[in-house]
C-alpha cells in the first residue's frame, strides 16, 4: 500500500514537473479577405462528320462577368513547445467564408505533427505533414507570406476542379526528416519523407470500408520523396523528387507508377526578388496513353521600399491526358502590395488565365475522336487584405 502510494505521488510529481516544464500553448493564425471582379469567355467547338460533310458543332459557349467578395481563407495555428526538443503544431484551415449553416466553404485539417529537433541540422516531424517539394508547396497557403491573391495556376484552389493537383505535387506525408548543414558560406538543406498513397485512394465518408473507418488507405504502396537544396547568400535553389502511384483504377484499371521531378530557385538581391519552379510528372501506364504532365512558374518583383512591393508572374500547366490541357493553360499575374505593419498586407492584383488550342475530342456517340478547338480567356481584378494575428 505504502509502495503504491509512493509510486502515485512520484507519478503525480513527475506529471506536474513535466507540465510546468512546458511552454504555454501559442495560438495564432491568419486570414485573407478579398473582393474581385472577373470576366471572360469560354468556347469549345468540335468538327463532326455528317452525311452532308463536316460541320462545326458548338459544345460550350459562355461569357459573362461577376463580382464577388469573401473571406478567401482563414487558418488557426496552434503551437506548443513540449520541452527543449519536442514541438507540437496544428494548422486548421477554413476556406471561402466557411459556414455549415449555409453550406459554404470547407474546413481542412492541414497539419498536425510533433517535431523532434536537437539542432537545425536534423529534425523529424511525425503526423500529418505538408511535405517539402520544391519551395512553394509548404507555403502555398500562408497568405500573409506570399504576395499573391490568386496563386500561380497549380496552386490556386479555385482551379482544383479543372486539373488533378495531387498528380503534380505531394499533398500529405506521415513522417519527414529534414535539416540544414552549414557548408562554406551557405547551407546544404535536405528533406526526406514517407506518406500514404495519393488522397484519391483514401476512403471518403460515403465509401463503405470494413470497420467503418474513413480516410483509410488500403493500398500497399507509399509515397517516398525528398528535396536537396543549397542556400548561398541571396540564392536558394533545390531539386525535388517523389515516387508513388497514380490512381487510374477508375479510368485505366491500373495503379500507374509515377515520378515527380521538381526544381526551384529563389533569389533576393538588393531590391529585386524572384522565384520560380518547374515540375515534370512522368507516368508509365501499361495502357497506351500519355499521362505525363508539366508545370512551371516564374515571379519577378521589386521591393519599392521596406513596406511596398510589385511583382509579375507567369505560369503554364500542361496535362497530356486532359484534352483541353494538352496545348496548355497559361496564367499571368501582375500585383502590388503594401505592409503597414508586419502583420497586415494590403494587396491588389490583376490576373489572366487562358488556353487556346486544338485537340482530338472523344465522342461516345460516334465511338471515336473528332477534331475540336478550345478557347478560354478570363481576366480578374482583385483587392485583398491579409492579416496575421
Amino acid at each position: 500500500m505504502q509502495v503504491k502510494k509512493s509510486i502515485l505521488m512520484l507519478t503525480a510529481a513527475l506529471l506536474v514537473g513535466s507540465l510546468s516544464a512546458q511552454e504555454p500553448l501559442e495560438v495564432s493564425g491568419f486570414f485573407q479577405a478579398r473582393t474581385s471582379y472577373t470576366s471572360g469567355k469560354s468556347s469549345l467547338v468540335a468538327t463532326v462528320p455528317t452525311p452532308n460533310g463536316n460541320m462545326d458543332m458548338t459544345l460550350l459557349d459562355s461569357d459573362g462577368s461577376y463580382t464577388t467578395g469573401d473571406l478567401q481563407q482563414m487558418n488557426l495555428l496552434f503551437r506548443k513547445e513540449l520541452n527543449q526538443n519536442f514541438t507540437a503544431w496544428v494548422n486548421l484551415e477554413f476556406l471561402n467564408t466557411f459556414s455549415t449553416e449555409r453550406d459554404w466553404g470547407a474546413i481542412n485539417l492541414e497539419e498536425a505533427w510533433v517535431r523532434y529537433s536537437r539542432s537545425s541540422r536534423f529534425a523529424v516531424k511525425v503526423g500529418l505533414v505538408v511535405p517539402t517539394f520544391n519551395y512553394f508547396n509548404e507555403v502555398k497557403n500562408r497568405m500573409p507570406l506570399i504576395p499573391y491573391i490568386s496563386r500561380p495556376l497549380l496552386y490556386e484552389p479555385t482551379l482544383r476542379d479543372i486539373f488533378p493537383v495531387e498528380d503534380f505535387i505531394p499533398e500529405r506525408a506521415l513522417i519527414q526528416g529534414y535539416g540544414k548543414v552549414p557548408v562554406g558560406k551557405g547551407y546544404f538543406s535536405y528533406a526526406a519523407y514517407l506518406g500514404k498513397a495519393e488522397t484519391s485512394y483514401w476512403a471518403s465518408n460515403s465509401d463503405e470500408v470494413d470497420g467503418g473507418l474513413n480516410s483509410s488507405d488500403t493500398t500497399n504502396f507509399f509515397l517516398v520523396g525528398g528535396r536537396v537544396g543549397l542556400e548561398v547568400d541571396h540564392l536558394n535553389a533545390g531539386v525535388s523528387a517523389t515516387f508513388d502511384k497514380d490512381n487510374q483504377q477508375p479510368t485505366l484499371g491500373e495503379d500507374v507508377n509515377r515520378i515527380r521531378i521538381g526544381a526551384d530557385a529563389q533569389v533576393n538581391f538588393s531590391k529585386i526578388f524572384g522565384e520560380g519552379e518547374i515540375i515534370i510528372v512522368k507516368e508509365s501506364p501499361e495502357a497506351n496513353v500519355d499521362l505525363n504532365k508539366m508545370f512551371y512558374y516564374a515571379t519577378l518583383g521589386v521591393n519599392l521600399s521596406e513596406s511596398a512591393f510589385v511583382y509579375g508572374n507567369y505560369s503554364e500547366l500542361k496535362d497530356n491526358y486532359i484534352d483541353f490541357l494538352i496545348s496548355g493553360l497559361q496564367g499571368f499575374l501582375l500585383g502590388a502590395g503594401y505592409r503597414p505593419t508586419y502583420s497586415v498586407v494590403l494587396k491588389a492584383q490583376y490576373s489572366r488565365s487562358w488556353s487556346k488550342g486544338d485537340f482530338d475530342l472523344f465522342v461516345p456517340q460516334l465511338g471515336g475522336e473528332v477534331p475540336a478547338s478550345i478557347d478560354l480567356d478570363y481576366n480578374s481584378f482583385s483587392v485583398a487584405v491579409s492579416v496575421l494575428f
Partner: protein, 137 residues
C-alpha cells in the same frame, strides 16, 4: 590650432561611440563574445540554440529607429528579407518570430529578464544588466 584638432578628435570619437550598436545577451548566456556571422545566423533564425543547447530568444525593435537601421545595415540584411524569413518560420511552425519591443530601454529590460535572450541597442544605452557580446560600427 592644436586645441581645435584635439576638439575635433574628441568629437569624432564621441560621434563614433554614439553610432555604434551593441549586441546584448542575457547574463546567463555562456558565450562571452559573438562574431557578426553568428549574430546574422541567429537573427535569420538559422541558429536557434546556444552552444550549451539552450534556446535563443530573439528581440527585435518595432518600427524604425537608429539602432535598428544601423544593426541590419551592419549585418548586411534587409528588413523586408528578414520579415519573409521570420514569417515563413512562424507560419510553418518551425520557430517563433522575434518579439518586437519599442525602445532600447525595453530591449535591456526584456533581454536581462529572459533566459537565452539576445537583442541590440545603441552602444551608449547598454547597461550592466546585460552582457555585450559584439559591438557593430
Amino acid at each position: 590650432m592644436k586645441n581645435l584638432l584635439i576638439l575635433m578628435a574628441f568629437l569624432g570619437l564621441t560621434l563614433s561611440a554614439q553610432a555604434q550598436v551593441a549586441v546584448v545577451v542575457n547574463k546567463n548566456v555562456a558565450e562571452s563574445s559573438l562574431t557578426k556571422e553568428t549574430v546574422k545566423k541567429i537573427f535569420e533564425l538559422n541558429q536557434l540554440r546556444w552552444g550549451n543547447g539552450d534556446k535563443i530568444a530573439v528581440f527585435d525593435m518595432k518600427g524604425d529607429g537608429p539602432s535598428k537601421d544601423k544593426f541590419y545595415e551592419a549585418l548586411g540584411v534587409s528588413v523586408s528579407d528578414l520579415r519573409k524569413i521570420w514569417m515563413r518560420m512562424q507560419l510553418t511552425g518551425e520557430a517563433k518570430a522575434p518579439k518586437g519591443v519599442k525602445s532600447d530601454a525595453e530591449v535591456i529590460q526584456q533581454v536581462s529578464t529572459t533566459p537565452g535572450a539576445i537583442g541590440f541597442v545603441m552602444a551608449d544605452q547598454a547597461t550592466d544588466a546585460v552582457k555585450v557580446v559584439l559591438t557593430l560600427p
